[in-house]
Structures are given as C-alpha cells and as structure tokens.
C-alpha cells in the first residue's frame, strides 16, 4: 500500500519534471531569435498554435499543408505540432502553446470528450481557441470561439439528394447498400443520418444492408464482397468515403458487374484516387469534404485577434462532383 503510494508520488514528480523540461525545450525551440517565446505579442505579427491530429491519411496531410501554406501567405507565425493520433500529446501541445502565450490556439480534436480542463486553462490565460474539422463534446460553449469544419450531416444529405434526382419519376424499388465509416465516429454517424433523412421521404428507396468498412479500402472490398453474395439485386452503393468505395469497386468488378453502371456509386471526400474513378465512370457522384480550410482558418484567426465577433459555426466551402465536373477538376486536384 505504502510503496504503491510512494510510486505514484514519484511518478507525479517525474511527470512534472519531465513536463517542465519539455516545455522549456519547446519554448527554446519556438523562440526564433531575439524576442523569445510568444514574440507575436511584441512585434505585431500573430502567432497561431496549431495542434494537428497526426498524419492519418492523404486527406489529413492535405489539411496540414493547407494550414501551413495559408499561414505563410497570411503572414501568421505558425507553431505546428503533430499529436500522432493521441489525445495526451494534443493536450501537452496545447499546454505548451499556453505557456508560450501564443495569440490563438487552433486544433482538430482527436476525440470528442476530455477537453474541458485544458481549454479552461487556455481561457484563463485569455487565449482564444478555434476548433478545426472536428467538434468537441462539452456543455460549456464558451471554451472555444468558433468551430470551422465540414457539416457531415449536410454531406449525407447532398448524397441523398443526388440519388433522389437520379431516380426521379421511377417507381420500381431501389436497393441501396451502405458502407459506413468507423463505427461511432462523427462522420460515420452524421453521413448516415443525413442520407437517411433525405431518402426516407420516398419508400422506393430501401437500404438493404449497412455495415462498417472502417474507412479503409481493404475493408470496403471485403464487406462489398459479402454484400454482393447476400443481396442479389443491388442498385446503389453509398460509401462514407472514397477509399471504401474504391475497395468496393474492385469487389463489384470481381463479380462481373460494371461499377457505375450496374451498381451506381456515391461516395464522400473527393480525394484524387476517388476523382480519378469518378472521371473514369466507375463512381457516379462524389460529395466533397474539403481539407483545404487553411485560408478560412487564417481569416478567422485575424478576426478573433482583432476582437471582431465570429460566428459560432463556420462551414467549410465545399461542393459536389459529377463525372463531367470530375474530369475538369482532376488536373488541379492537390490531394
């Protein structure tokens, strides 16, 4: 018992010491010449601390690049950290930004909950916080200034609306299979409910099977293979991201069917590989979920620093693509 307590005390002490060392080290790195840490406050340039989730996919990499590039363009001093998909790393990074007295903190929360303490620290230090791309689950809305990111429900609705227009005037039943994202994740939940909301108005649309493909090509293919065997008559595939759709295309081709013709395919994201498949006619419709929110984020940062009021929720500028639009947009696709 006693030794156990001793151990925890020791752990705490070492954690504090280690944390202190890290903060000093990071502060030393951050202060590039002259003014030292938090130089933004002194010479007028804005300092933005950005805590990224990690490099989990091409989408995320494009997101990082957009933030970095637009910060440079806007003349904002960006302090960037990569959390490698771990919340504790992100909290550590945010604490470091608070000690460095940056002007604004922005971050994409790895998970939805557990942010209250660290965000309250930021609030006490009078540093405004902007959430990007993912929301947090907290009753206290004053912890952050604004949330900029995609509206996943709207994405699902756009997908549903295309389907409704596509099958307008037809009466025979439309059998839909759905490849969901990672179970429990916000994009999976919202893209599913948005889509369901739109198609439920017409009873001819029937979701005959819906399983998670975990946002990956491998799982998308595996699940689609099973769908094809269990359901003889599939008209439409709705995949919550391009990658699952791309996996499913291989499964459909393996079954001797033509993706995009025999089975119509709707996906979300619009990454390069997905756009290529759309341009090739293998996908019918893609709802964009844009990672390029850097310019919008920098605008918000400037407004927040200037003390202007910003809307609580800013939706990323996004569009949709059909096959012709994909052909036109493909050469300039960055990610």
């Amino acid at each position: 018992m006693f030794s156990g307590e001793g151990e925890t005390v020791l752990k705490k002490i070492s954690a504090v010491v280690l944390g202190g060392l890290m903060v000093t080290a990071m502060a030393a790195c951050g202060g590039d010449g002259g003014a030292g840490s938090g130089s933004g406050n002194d010479d007028g340039t804005i300092t933005l601390g950005f805590a990224q989730v990690g490099a989990e996919s091409g989408w995320r990499t494009a997101n990082t690049k957009s933030v970095q590039d637009s910060a440079k363009e806007a003349g904002i001093d960006l302090k960037f950290s990569d959390a490698q998909q771990k919340q504790e790393n992100q909290i550590k990074a945010i604490r470091t930004y608070i000690t460095q007295k940056v002007d604004v903190i922005a971050f994409s929360p790895v998970v939805e909950s557990g942010w209250d303490t660290v965000l309250r620290e930021a609030k006490d230090a009078k540093i405004p916080v902007i959430l990007t791309d993912r929301a947090i689950d907290s009753p206290d809305k004053t912890l952050y200034k604004t949330f900029i990111g995609s509206d996943f429900v709207l994405e699902g609705k756009k997908a549903g609306e295309w389907l409704v227009t596509e099958y307008q005037g037809k009466t025979e039943p439309v059998n839909i299979v759905e490849l969901q994202g990672t179970t429990g994740s916000a994009p999976a939940n919202d893209r599913k409910s948005g889509f369901a909301d739109v198609i439920k108005a017409d009873p001819k649309f029937k979701v005959v099977a819906s399983q998670t493909g975990e946002f990956t090509r491998a799982k998308g293919k595996e699940v689609m293979e099973a769908f094809l065997k269990a359901n003889k008559d599939i008209d439409v595939l709705y995949a919550h991201n391009d990658d699952m759709g791309l996996g499913a295309i291989e499964a459909i081709e393996g079954a001797g069917l033509k993706p995009g013709v025999d089975i119509k395919i709707i996906t979300v994201d619009a990454v390069k590989d997905g756009m290529q498949a759309l341009a090739d006619g293998k996908i019918n419709f893609i709802v964009e979920c844009s990672p390029l929110l850097g310019p919008q984020l920098m605008d918000l940062v400037k407004k927040v620093v200037a003390g202007e009021t910003v809307p609580e929720r800013v939706v990323t500028e996004e569009t949709t693509f059909n096959q012709e639009q994909a052909k036109a947009a493909l050469p300039n696709r960055q990610y």
Partner: protein, 350 residues
C-alpha cells in the same frame, strides 16, 4: 464415435461447420460456388481468400508461441512490407514489369526477414521478454510504415503485383495457394524432421533443452524470423488485394486475431505444444465469423459483442476442463446421494 469427439480438431471443426451452416438460414445459396470472369466466385471462396493473410500470420505466430514467446509486431510488419513493395512499384517506369515487381517483392520480404531478425535478436540474444521486445517494433513499425508511405495511401496499378493477393491462378485465388504452400512447408519441416520436436522442447523448457544440447537460442531466433516472413507475405497480399498501401490501417490488430487463431487451434500459450492444422482452422473460424457478420447483417454497433460471444463459446468448448464439468456428468454413473439435485441438462448449441 468417441474417438472422433476426442480428436483435438473436433470442437473447432464443429464450430466452423455451425458458423458456415448458420449462413444458410439467411443466404440459402451461401455454399454455391460458380465460375465468374474466369475464376471461382462465392462466399466460401471469399472466406479462404480474405482469410489467407490471417492464416499466414497465424502460422508464424504458432511457431513463436510454441517456443514460449509471442510476436506483437506482425501487424506492423504487414504494414511495412506492403508499404515498401507499393512504394517501389509506384516508382517503376513500367508498373507491369514482372522483373520490377519481383525486385520490389524481394526487397520487401528481405526487410521482413531483417525485422524478424531484430525481434529474434532482442528475445534470443539480449534476453528481453518477448512481449516487450516485440512491442517495440509493434509501435515503432507503424511509424516506419507511415514514414515509407509519407502518411499517404500509395496506389499502384500493376497486374503482376495484383496477382499475389487479388489474382487467380487456374481459377483458384492465388493468395490461398501461397498460404497452402507455406502451410505445407511448415508442416513438412516441423513434423517430418526433428525441428517440431526441438521447438516444443525449447518451448517446454529452454534452459533444459540447451543443457540437452539443443541450440535453443537459434531455434527461438528462427521462430521470429519465420513469423516476420509470414507477416511480410501477408502484407504483400493485403496491399496487393486493394492495389494500395495504407500505412495506418494495413494489418491493424491482426496480431490479436492471429493469437486468437493460434489459441482456438489448440496451441498452448505457455509454449511447448503446437498444432499448425489447428491454427489454420482457427484462422478460418475467425474469417468465417467476419463474413457471417456481413452476410447476416449484424449491426456494426453490436458486431464486437457478437464476435466476443462466439469466441467465448469456441474457447469454452475447446477447454477440456470446461467440457468435463458440463458434458462429462452425463457419462458418469448417478451420484450416490439421491437427494442432490439432478445434474442440469445443458443444451449443446446447434
């Protein structure tokens, strides 16, 4: 009949049959296999095709566990090998060049052997506990895979590479042929030579084996190299099947499935006893379970619970102690005291 029931493969085989049969209720033509696009097509084909990587990883895991160790790093090795092979192929001028693809595959498998040697070195030579030693590569390896892919998904368009995991040879999925080949070789080496006995001896007691003149360290080392090699081939299959390498998700948690397959197959986690055939059965049960979930449409929110229940039943049925307690009573003569409650009849799940 009693001999059949007592055979160690009886219970896992029964579970596999029950799982397969339960699909018939929802999909009457579940067992139908026809030829489409010049290759075999059907749910059963899917099970062996998607199960092939898991079979391979599990075979490697079996031998490591037989030596009393464990290899947590196989999932990362899967990701690294797939990533490296796809990266090399994507850099080729002509992605369909057989020589180029073979070079990329050779390079990736060479790296797998190297990673296995690293694990073997840490465990056999340095003497670090296997779970810790391989944990290093499990965590660091994912990072290495991401480094290779630069955090992106590398897409390749190469028909020779496609053959490994997604192609067919004489209408049969190529991946299952590879898995069968490795299985056959491993069986031959361990059961037709003294190697299997030596592995079991080392797993039973490494020190005693060493004193008896067995190169215990060398055997353990080889086990890890073999496991990494199997994981490497599995990594090629997984990435080849979807023509792309995903450093983050390829082979994620496959080590846990592999350990489960090994355990279902009747290999002792304490080492010293292994069954390669049982492992293949175990891997097939896991893949059948996954396919069953998709086919009968278990909602994703309850998938994990459903899996857990089935796995619990399989493991309980596998346990002789549990069977003796539950089913054993029926065969015993009636208990001496008549006033004690009658043994409750236990339903055998159909």
């Amino acid at each position: 009949m009693a001999n059949v029931v007592r055979h160690r493969f009886f219970w896992p085989l029964l579970m596999l049959v029950v799982l397969l049969a339960s699909n018939l209720i929802f999909t009457p033509d579940f067992f139908a296999v026809d030829v489409r696009q010049g290759h075999l097509y059907g749910s059963l084909v899917d099970i062996v095709r998607f199960g092939a990587p898991l079979i391979l990883v599990s075979l490697g895991m079996t031998l490591v566990i037989a030596t009393g160790g464990i290899d947590l790093s196989v999932g990362s090795v899967v990701a690294i090998c797939g990533a490296l092979a796809c990266l090399r192929i994507s850099e080729l001028g002509d992605q369909n060049s057989v020589v180029g693809v073979l070079m990329a595959v050779g390079l990736a498998l060479g790296l797998a052997l190297l990673l296995g040697a690293w694990n073997g070195l840490l465990v056999a030579q340095v003497g670090i506990q296997p779970i810790i030693a391989t944990l290093i590569l499990m965590v660091a390896g994912r990072g290495l895979a991401q480094l290779i892919t630069d955090g992106q998904i590398i897409t390749v368009n190469s028909s020779p590479y496609k053959l490994i995991g997604g192609g067919y040879w004489l209408t049969v999925p190529f991946s299952i042929l590879v898995a069968l080949l490795v299985f056959g070789l491993a069986l031959l080496l361990t059961r037709r030579t003294a190697l299997g006995l030596l592995i079991e001896s080392v797993g039973g007691n490494a020190e005693a084996s060493r004193l008896a003149g067995i190169h215990a360290r060398r055997i353990i080392f080889t086990g890890y190299v073999f496991a990494a090699f199997c994981a490497g081939v599995a990594g090629l299959m997984i990435s080849s099947n979807v023509s792309s390498a995903d450093g983050n998700n390829a082979g994620l948690w496959i080590e846990l499935d592999a350990i489960l397959a090994v355990v279902i197959g009747g290999t002792s986690l304490a080492g010293g006893r292994f069954s390669l055939g049982g492992t293949v059965l175990g891997a097939l049960i896991i893949q059948t379970l996954t396919t069953t979930i998709y086919t009968i449409g278990i909602p994703p929110e309850t998938t994990l619970l459903f899996k857990a229940l089935v796995v619990t039943v399989v493991c309980l049925l596998q346990s002789p102690a549990f069977r003796a307690k539950v089913f054993g009573r029926r065969r015993k003569p009636p208990l001496p005291q008549p006033d004690r409650e009658q043994p409750t009849k236990v339903e055998v799940p159909a």
